[in-house]
């Protein structure tokens, strides 16, 4: 009898489908609902995104969460996020990179590996995941990103970065994605802005990495290029330069695309923004952060017709990071909107 006594399962009834009201469709935020367990918090996050006037989100769908055992997929949490986003009228761009399942990265000797390590002989398994994801979410998720920041060592399993190796992965993933849904838009790269030179054990300059991707034949295997660009301590109109990291660095990547005949392809800024930590050396004041963020969106609207949308990192974390990373967010883990949220909402919502 006691075994049959259980508390009622938490239920969450979605309201009627919503529409994002915005004067600035370029607006996009990178949500981090990956580790948000409670459905009401997922919904509340997406409600706040919609109410702020952002029609698009980038969300991370870790491979290990979906395929903890080879060939066995669990889409429960991913379905929840995608369905709730649809209910709120939001378009989802899905990042499919990192968090490699244990079974795909544990070497025979059982040595520890980081979860961004994708062994070269497991590229086909990643392709299988991409196929399964695109097939499962056909019609619901129309844009995917292949991996994340492959030009930094941390994101390449702490191995030397490998543009040619990433391009091989891209080719496999692109083919499998199109096999599942020819209409899905495949974004390459999500390159990290960095000035690391050839031979650095931290990564490789994003401009050099992209050149080598093209040299390895990447052009036919992506529909648009995902890029990251943070403003750091500079205003959004700070001119780009090969030896500078700022918001407009993406224009240099654009130039490379055009030089390789890809002017017809678009770009998506999948991570960007400013930070207002009181101590991070690359932060600005909270007031400047608000000004620069709004000006950044306006710069993109005015000068970047090939960039759509501009996604700011990061809307909210499920729990505090206890580092300067917390100062990228718009809303606290307790759902307290920060002044930047109010400012962007006032700007975006007519």
């Amino acid at each position: 009898m006691l075994a049959g006594i259980q508390p009622p399962r938490a239920t969450l009834r979605l309201g009627p489908p919503q529409t994002v009201v915005t004067a600035h469709p370029v607006l996009c935020v990178h949500t981090r609902l990956t580790d948000e367990v409670e459905p009401w918090k997922v919904l509340r996050t997406l409600e706040l995104v919609r109410q702020m006037g952002a029609p698009t989100i980038v969300e991370y769908f870790p491979w290990a969460y979906a395929e903890s055992r080879p060939g066995q997929f669990d889409w429960g949490h991913a379905d929840l996020v995608v369905d709730y986003a649809a209910n709120q009228g939001l378009t989802v761009i899905a990042r499919l990179g990192g968090l490699v399942p244990d079974w795909a990265r544990t070497p025979p000797d059982g040595a520890d590996t980081v979860d961004t390590l994708l062994p070269y002989d497991r590229f086909a398994d990643y392709g299988d995941y991409v196929f399964a994801f695109v097939q499962h979410f056909q019609g619901r998720v129309k844009t995917i990103i292949i991996w994340n920041e492959p030009n930094v060592t941390l994101e390449w399993g702490f191995r030397p970065v490998d543009p040619e190796g990433y391009t091989t992965l891209l080719k496999i993933a692109y083919a499998r994605a199109k096999e599942a849904d020819p209409s899905v838009q495949v974004l390459a790269g999500a390159l990290a802005p960095t000035l690391e030179p050839e031979g650095s054990d931290l990564g490789l300059n994003d401009l050099l990495f992209l050149e080598r991707m093209y040299a390895a034949g990447a052009a036919g295997y992506f529909d648009a290029l995902a890029v990251h660009a943070y403003g750091l301590g500079f205003p959004p109109d700070e001119p780009p330069a090969p030896d500078a990291l700022n918001f407009r660095r993406v224009e240099l990547l654009r130039a490379i695309m055009v030089a390789h005949g890809d002017a017809a392809k678009g770009m998506v800024l999948t991570e960007s923004g400013w930070n207002d930590s009181p101590r991070w050396t690359r932060a600005v004041t909270p007031g400047a952060r608000i000004d620069y963020t709004l000006a950044g969106y306006e710069w993109a609207e005015t000068h970047w017709p090939w960039m759509q949308p501009v996604c700011t990192w990061a809307f909210r974390y499920p729990k505090p990071q206890n580092s300067y990373g917390d100062y990228f967010t718009f809303v606290s883990p307790e759902f307290v909107p920060k002044p930047i949220y109010d400012a962007v909402k006032q700007w975006a919502v007519p």
Binding site: D112, T113, V114, T116, T153, L154, F158, L202, D276, P278, R279, W280, T281, R282, T285, P286, G287, R289, I290, N322, S323, Y324, G325, D326, S332, E334, V336, P337, K338, P339, I340
Partner: protein, 274 residues
Amino acid sequence: MGRTLTLFRAVSGVAGIVALLVAAVIAWRAWRTPEDAAWARIQADGRLVVATDASYPPFSATDANGDLFGLDVDLAEAIGRRWGVAVQFENITYDALLGTLVVGRDDVVISAFVAQPERTREVAYTAPYFVGGTLVVIRRAGGQLITGDAEAWAAGKTLAVEYGAGGDALARQWARRVVGVTVQPLDTAAAALASVAAGMADAAVVDAIAAYTFLAAHPDLTLAGPPIAPEPYVMAVSADSPVLLAHLQDTLAAMQADGTLADLRAHWLGEAAR
């Protein structure tokens, strides 16, 4: 002959038993002492490799010459002196810090790091050497200490904050829940603290580091209580480094006992942080 043989057998038997006992003790000690590749490497190389994100003064940053400085840097070097090993720093982005331990690239993370409980399968943490968070600062003369619930304490007060910062969000939350809370947003934490010093606000709700450094030059102000939402800074090692962890814990305890840690905090953040 027979007695000699009996004696020989007896002695052999005893020797055999002793040999077995010695072997058992050796095996037991080997089992008791866990393998720790990081600790073995530190001993062999005479070097402690520290991962730090040097973009976060006063804990870890680089000067105009590219040299590291800060509380974390001094802490690492103090540990190295006590152990008789050199200290080598790897300046790496925050997101990569724990990964350097997992892959065995570095030995310890010392980087204003707050423990991430969800990572304890891969890493282990020391006791804290500093506690940050949000602090409330009041005037010594006439200021009201927080003796119970901070939210209730805020009733009827004007709270100076740095616009858009965590203290601002917290104060706004109080203002929504408690009668009579007025939030006074200012451009910087220092401006918020100055407002209190000038009598224009009852208290400042600001980041702990900003509070400590301001208090160092303003003896007319004081802390209203302990940190709100404390953030303890710890060192991290691989979960496979229990011996290294134990040595770090012992060294931290010794530094706490002999005042070294307090001196470091006071040096970099002022006496209020001691």
